[in-house]
């Protein structure tokens, strides 16, 4: 099993993570993933964003498998 997992980061969240793809130690659900992300990037905790798991935006704790694609989507205001 892979020891790392990648998370796609959209919009201005990239200013916080410094990269459109973030690598963290593999976790089994989205709550653990967020905890790990907040430890790594404390500013992220103050930001509003959606979590998408395999192209579905989730509302609560969701399992993450080995092939699962995870993305973080912030709101945009520009027009």
């Amino acid at each position: 099993m892979e020891t790392k997992m990648n998370i796609m980061v959209f919009g201005q969240l990239e200013d916080i993570t410094g990269s459109p793809v973030v690598s963290i130690n593999r976790v089994t659900d989205t709550e653990l993933m967020l905890k790990s992300l907040y430890d790594q990037y404390p500013v992220l905790e103050q930001k509003q964003f959606l979590v998408a798991v395999d192209r579905k935006i989730i509302n609560g704790k969701t399992e993450i498998g080995e092939q699962t694609q995870v993305a973080l989507l912030p709101p945009f205001s520009g027009g």
Binding site: Q12, R55, I57, S77, G78
Partner: protein, 376 residues
């Protein structure tokens, strides 16, 4: 009289099987309200007019300015200083006399929004700020109007269709299912602060116009209960499905009375003006000892300031760095003055009377402009 839909003008789209004369007739009878005639609004207005939409309303209270031109392609250099709705309407009327263009050179607010959208079949959100986006979303929920939403930032865009169900009696998603609460002022940078590639709103606005045409003509699948994202850097297009937000009932105003109680314009801090200083005052304070200047922009943002000494604390890190703010007078600045005003407010709240906090109105953009003028 010959039907317009069978004439030469619309021939290339009428020959499409899925579109046909029926699609053109539907389009010629449709009434679409485009809110915001900026980066997204320009392509939306151009394609909807060219395609033969029966009636188009344009809402925008802004004037054309030089920095609009790389992305707001309805305007040219001679239009600077003129009303966007007037210039756009004049050009669209020349483009297609079949389209009736109605101008609303005003800013939408709680007092006029419900009335204006009532007269249209589809509403298109091409605005550039969260206050307007939440106002329009809620108004469209109350009036049950299909809303075609788009927003851009940097190299990326989002598009969605709200208040339309996939099947009859199925739920209808809206913006608050995605982002229930309006972000705090300064939390998300706007285009003036974050920047945007000129062609990007052209691409996203064109997707938006296409969604409007599909809704009117009933062609294809719409972005119902889905959010499309586009990234110009790597050409990635993604479509995300979403489900109803658990708290939607508690957040969205249920009727017109509730709507009038909402506070969309939270961007104006109560007492915000107390914290704001203009460029002249800023320059006077630069000569004062014991004054701390703080740039609250992100580390990579330009222009870099070399003219005076200052510290850099991005707004998001401010709350972790209270111990670095030792001096009595603190002047915050950012790109356009939005984030620095939030920083000044937060700091004043944290320290109370021990720190005098100010924000440079108009940001470093205004400061640079003023000093460039003085040099020439």
């Amino acid at each position: 009289m010959e039907r317009k839909s069978s004439g030469e003008r619309y021939n290339r789209q009428v020959v499409l099987k899925q579109f046909g004369e029926a699609g053109q007739d539907a389009l010629l009878q449709a009434k679409v309200l485009v809110i915001g005639a900026g980066g997204l609004g320009c392509p939306v207005l151009q394609y909807l007019t060219a395609a033969g939409t029966g009636s188009i309303g344009i809402v925008d209270d802004d004037l054309v300015s030089l920095s609009n031109l790389p992305r707001q392609v309805l305007y040219d250099t001679h239009d600077i200083g003129k009303s966007k709705t007037a210039v756009a309407a004049a050009k669209l009327r020349l483009m297609n006399p079949d389209t009736q263009v109605v101008e609303y050179p005003i800013r939408l607010d709680k007092t006029n929004c419900l009335d204006i959208i009532s007269g249209y079949d589809i509403i298109v959100d091409c605005t550039d700020n969260f206050a307007s986006r939440y106002l329009i979303n809620d108004a469209c929920v109350i009036k049950e109007k299909p809303l075609v939403y788009a927003a851009v930032s940097g190299f990326q865009g989002q598009v969605a269709v709200f208040n339309v169900s996939r099947k009859e009696r199925q739920w209808k998603g809206n913006y608050r299912d995605l982002f229930p609460e309006q972000p705090a002022p300064g939390e998300v940078m706007n285009c003036a602060e974050a920047g945007v590639l000129g062609v990007l709103p052209g691409i996203i606005g064109s997707i938006q116009a296409c969604e409007v045409i599909k809704l009117i003509t009933g062609m294809g699948g719409s972005l119902v209960n889905q959010l499309l994202t586009y990234n110009a850097i790597d050409n990635q297009v993604s479509v995300f499905a979403y489900s109803p937000n658990k708290h939607r009932g508690a957040i969205i105003p249920r009727n017109e009375n509730d709507f009038h109680q909402m506070n969309y314009e939270q961007e104006c801090f109560t007492g915000g003006a107390l914290f704001e200083i203009d460029v002249k005052t800023f320059d006077v304070l630069l000569l004062q000892p014991d004054t701390l200047f703080i740039d609250v922009r992100e580390g990579h943002e330009l222009p870099l300031i070399t003219e005076f000494e200052y510290a850099r604390i991005p707004l998001g890190e401010l709350k972790q760095k209270w111990n670095e703010l030792s001096k009595g007078t603190i002047i915050f600045f950012c790109q356009s003055g939005t984030r620095s005003l939030q920083a000044a407010t937060l700091t004043a709240e944290h320290f109370g009377n021990t720190h005098q906090c100010y924000s440079l109105q108009g940001g470093i953009v205004s400061w640079k402009k003023m000093h460039e003028k003085q040099l020439t």
